[in-house]
């Protein structure tokens, strides 16, 4: 009785726009050109054009680099931080809360913080570099380091997330498992590698997948730190779509790219659901 309307509202605000997005993607809609909205004469035009779009291809490659490095860093750092915190219960509790700060900051504030860190005229880092007499380039305006600076800021912002998930899994780890291995004379390194790590496989996978999907929609950092530049070296598909639709008004074409992006995200989400519910059955 209550169910119908609520599911209907949910469908209207989420599913309907997605269907509409797909319909737009079949038209050459350009907000500056009237008459392009209802033009269904070449419905696959946008999709065909995507295959030939070198800038899109470059942005996909940038995404691969960005996602691979941020996910790897966040999972490894989150794992190490969780292990470290797990070993000292007393200090751990206060530190644990403080380490979450980067993650709970509004994303735009994180972007502003790193913009300031990378501004040589006010940044203590550059005072230090000058003091040592080093001539360090500003990473966000240097094509060689721009993507690296995004990776650094993103890792800082989100390693607490993987850390939290891993800490939660660690707290459920049966004590006997560790105790038995320790009695058998396992060193701490062996213990971590052969007992803890395999036990955490599921948690690491879920944390990594979540970060992977989130890395696809990274926006505030790129918008504020580099605006996709210099040139297009930090432009990921999500940002490219934003530029195409809101700077150039190519709404039809950017919708087509978005549809592909949404499909990718849905497949990844489905994978997460599989992993999680599969894990439930096993337990």
């Amino acid at each position: 009785m209550l169910l119908g309307p609520v599911l209907a509202v949910l469908a209207v605000i989420t599913l309907l726009p997605t269907v509409y997005l797909f319909v737009i993607s079949l038209t050459p809609l350009n907000l500056t050109k009237p008459g392009t909205a209802g033009d269904f004469s070449h419905i696959w035009q946008n999709y065909r054009y995507m295959l030939a779009d070198m800038r899109l291809r470059d942005s996909l490659w940038t995404q691969v680099k960005l996602s691979a490095s941020t996910v790897a860093f966040q999972v490894v750092l989150g794992f190490l931080a969780a292990l470290l915190l797990n070993h000292s219960a007393r200090v751990g509790r206060i530190v644990r809360t403080s380490l979450l700060i980067p993650m709970v900051l509004p994303p735009i504030v994180v972007a502003i913080i790193w913009k300031m860190v990378f501004s040589p005229d006010i940044s203590p880092l550059w005072w230090l570099f000058n003091w040592f007499g080093w001539n360090v380039p500003v990473p966000i305006t240097d094509a060689r380091f721009a993507l690296g600076s995004i990776v650094l800021a993103d890792t800082w912002e989100w390693f607490p997330f993987t850390m939290m998930i891993i800490l939660a899994a660690l707290s459920m780890m049966p004590e006997e498992l560790v105790e038995a291995a320790r009695l058998d004379g396992a060193t701490p390194v062996q213990l971590t590698w052969y007992i803890t790590l395999p036990y955490l496989r599921g948690a690491l996978l879920v944390a990594g997948l979540f970060r992977l999907i989130d890395s696809i929609k990274a926006f505030p950092l790129i918008y504020l730190l580099t605006s996709g530049g210099p040139g297009t070296v930090t432009e990921v598909p999500n940002y490219y779509i934003f530029v195409q639709s809101f700077n150039f008004s190519y709404v039809g074409y950017s919708s087509a790219i978005t549809v592909v992006l949404v499909a990718m995200v849905c497949v990844l989400s489905w994978f997460i659901v599989r992993v999680v519910s599969g894990g439930d059955r096993a337990e």
């Binding site: 169910l3 609520v6 070993h87 509004p106 639709s245 978005t258 992006l261």
Partner: protein
């Protein structure tokens, strides 16, 4: 722990504390910046010691920075309340309905959180252009519902599924209607869970940057967008930028830390059950 000797523990703890300070450094520096005068900010390394000033904050009050804050507050609160009003009864019905919707529903909810915001922005933008909802709080409230309603349904359904039905059944036997049971028996039980969910919705709406950037111009502009405009047009007045950034993080900061466990639960809604 037990078979770990004291020196190792001291070294380990010291390492943890040092690392934490290192990681928090950019944040602490940023907040301190809001209390520095422009001279102190430009003074170089000597500005580790400075006389704190509230001048940056005071100048924000006179610059009409209050309005975007009001917009942020209004959009976030309205969207949160609306999502709760619609979502809580829906979640209750879903938890009690003999339906097999587990997989599709969890996928829909997870996907609506995971999809890049641009996927919603484009269709909403086009519809808002015709409906006159561009640059309005109403427009923001509606699009925030895309993630808030999903979140409410998911979290509250999990909660209702874990509460026993016996109380409700007793009320029915006494002749109470479904609605009366929901209001008198179920709602009082779930108040803490509703509050938690509401705070999460508020945090996620408050933190939004992308939707406000693309769907507002000036009337309904929210604080995060205003701060960025401020950086672009008013020159690099770092003290004021830091002060306004601090004001933006303030309302959600304490809540987020207090509710850290639920925060991760909210972020993984759709996949991980509470």
């Amino acid at each position: 722990m037990r078979n770990r000797n004291a020196p190792t523990r001291v070294v380990l703890n010291a390492a943890i504390i040092l690392l934490t300070l290192l990681i928090l450094m950019p944040f602490l520096w940023f907040v301190s910046m809001g209390f520095k005068s422009n001279d102190d900010i430009m003074a170089g390394s000597s500005s580790a010691l400075f006389v704190p000033t509230l001048a940056n904050y005071a100048s924000l009050m006179t610059r009409g920075f209050i309005r975007p804050f009001g917009n942020s507050l209004e959009a976030s609160l309205t969207s949160t309340l609306l999502s709760l009003v619609i979502g809580v009864p829906g979640a209750y019905a879903l938890a009690r309905a003999p339906l097999r919707l587990e997989r599709p529903l969890s996928l829909l909810i997870l996907a609506s959180r995971m999809v890049p915001p641009i996927a919603f922005t484009i269709p909403y933008f086009l519809v808002y252009r015709y409906a006159g909802l561009l640059d309005t709080i109403t427009g923001l409230v509606l699009i925030y519902m895309t993630f808030n309603l999903s979140l409410v349904i998911w979290l509250m359904r999990t909660f209702f599924e874990s509460t026993p039905r016996s109380l409700e059944e007793a009320a029915w036997i006494d002749g109470a209607s479904l609605w009366l049971t929901f209001r008198r028996v179920v709602l009082p039980l779930c108040t803490p869970a509703v509050m938690t969910t509401g705070v999460l919705c508020f945090i996620f709406s408050w933190n939004d940057f992308f939707f406000a950037l693309t769907l507002t111009r000036e009337q309904a502009m929210t604080a995060p967008v205003e701060v960025v405009n401020f950086m672009n047009y008013q020159g690099w007045e770092w003290g004021k930028i830091a002060a306004s950034g601090t004001l933006i993080l303030l309302p959600v900061f304490a809540f987020s830390l207090l509710m850290r466990r639920f925060l991760v639960q909210g972020m993984t809604a759709g996949a991980v059950k509470g």
